[in-house]
């Protein structure tokens, strides 16, 4: 069944063959995960989004009418769920007391170069996480997903105008965040 097209698998599923859904999940789970991971700050949140995406897809696949490719359809679901999840996260953070955690144990055993890379990675993730929702979405979709602006506009239900500015400001803010972090260390 692995050599079947997306549409064939969808039709099989719509005719009651649930195993076709398994093949679709196996085919797209990594792509969905990575889109989610770019939006979310960590693996656990990305995993939650991935599970939610396929849960929704399972419930809605009978309504899929192939007006777009299956991946585009899954992509839209992923972006919507990720953005909603970020909104909820923001609300939760608003009510949460400051969390203090110490990562010194893991850092102390790693070699210097690895520590530097880990720190740089964490810093970039932190910088991306702090971007306003729209800038973050545009950055993820343009830089990591390499989508054309027209497609980004459709996904975010906005016009193309302004997306380039959003992208520019997002990169500038990331750069500024990293610069300040290095300046203070």
């Amino acid at each position: 069944m692995t050599d079947r097209s997306d549409l064939e698998l969808v039709q099989l599923f719509q005719n009651g063959d649930e195993s076709a859904f398994n093949h679709l999940v196996l085919r797209y789970q990594e792509k969905v995960y990575w889109v989610a991971r770019r939006f979310m700050n960590d693996h656990d949140n990305a995993d939650d989004v991935t599970q939610e995406v396929f849960t929704r897809a399972y419930g809605a696949l009978n309504e899929f009418r192939a007006e777009s490719s299956l991946y585009t359809w899954l992509y839209r679901i992923t972006v919507n769920i990720a953005l909603n999840s970020l909104r909820r996260q923001k609300i939760r953070e608003f009510f949460r007391f400051e969390e203090v955690f110490d990562s010194a144990d893991t850092q102390s055993v790693a070699p210097d170069e690895a520590v530097e890379k880990q720190e740089a990675r964490a810093l970039i993730e932190e910088a991306i996480a702090r971007l306003p929702a729209k800038q973050k979405a545009v950055f993820v979709l343009r830089y990591y997903e390499e989508l054309p602006y027209g497609e980004i506009a459709k996904l975010l239900k906005t016009s193309v105008g302004g997306l380039k500015a959003n992208y520019f400001h997002a990169v500038k803010k990331i750069q500024e965040y990293v610069r300040r972090a290095h300046g203070t260390h």
């Binding site: 196996l26 991935t50 599970q51 990675r121 520019f168 990331i174 750069q175």
Partner: protein, 217 residues
């Protein structure tokens, strides 16, 4: 690129730096950079930013993680399905029969022709309900329900319970989407089931009173 504002060029720079800018815009940006010092600075900053971003590639999860996505998904789907069945069951077992029970009372009003005095004019149900025990009331509701096409067969006790539960608590089942979502909470679902199991004859008497109040104009 002459005539194009610098701020517009700026917005093209991220795509230029990452090689995603097509011709003729790419050449246009190049010639603009040759003559605009301000944009050259911006270009360098962005080059540096993208270099740092590219170097900090996020490490992905192991293959074992992806091997586990599908089994966990099916667990989740099964859990969702059982909750959904529970919700549907509540609607078919309680909400619809409740409506049928109320219908039964309304039908009763038409079947009997009570002699109205001052008091019964105030509460037209009173003469109907006078002398009607809770069991009899439940039987009437049950009889009405048999005329409806319900997917589940219901026992007499269940009928009493489903009539009583929302009325005793002064609420209807699922008045809106939010409460429907709440009903998916397994803890709340369990509480409702417990509530139904604990109904007594006294509860049913309260039901009669509540029912009477509700149907009164």
């Amino acid at each position: 690129m002459s005539g194009v504002h610098t701020e517009h060029i700026e917005y093209l720079l991220p795509d230029y730096v990452t090689g995603k800018l097509d011709e003729p815009l790419r050449s246009g940006v190049e010639s603009h950079l040759a003559e605009c010092a301000e944009c050259r600075v911006e270009h360098e900053i962005l080059q540096d930013a993208f270099r740092v971003i590219a170097e900090s590639t996020v490490q992905g999860p192991s293959r074992a993680y992806f091997a586990g996505v599908l089994p966990r998904l099916w667990d989740r789907l099964e859990q969702t399905e059982s909750l959904s069945l529970f919700t549907r069951s509540l609607v078919t077992r309680f909400a619809l029969p409740l409506a049928a029970g109320v219908l039964a009372i309304v039908v009763l009003l038409h079947l009997r022709a009570p002699s109205y005095d001052a008091e019964s004019a105030h509460n037209p149900l009173r003469p109907v309900l006078q002398g009607v025990g809770s069991e009899e009331l439940a039987e009437i509701a049950l009889e009405q329900m048999h005329r409806q096409s319900f997917p589940n067969s219901l026992g007499e006790n269940e009928t009493s319970a489903l009539l009583a539960a929302p009325l005793l608590t002064g609420r209807d089942f699922f008045p809106d989407a939010e409460s429907l979502a709440l009903s998916e909470d397994p803890v709340l679902g369990e509480a409702v089931s417990d509530e139904l199991e604990q109904l007594s004859d006294a509860d049913l008497d309260v039901l009669v009173a509540r029912l009477s109040e509700r149907i009164s104009p």
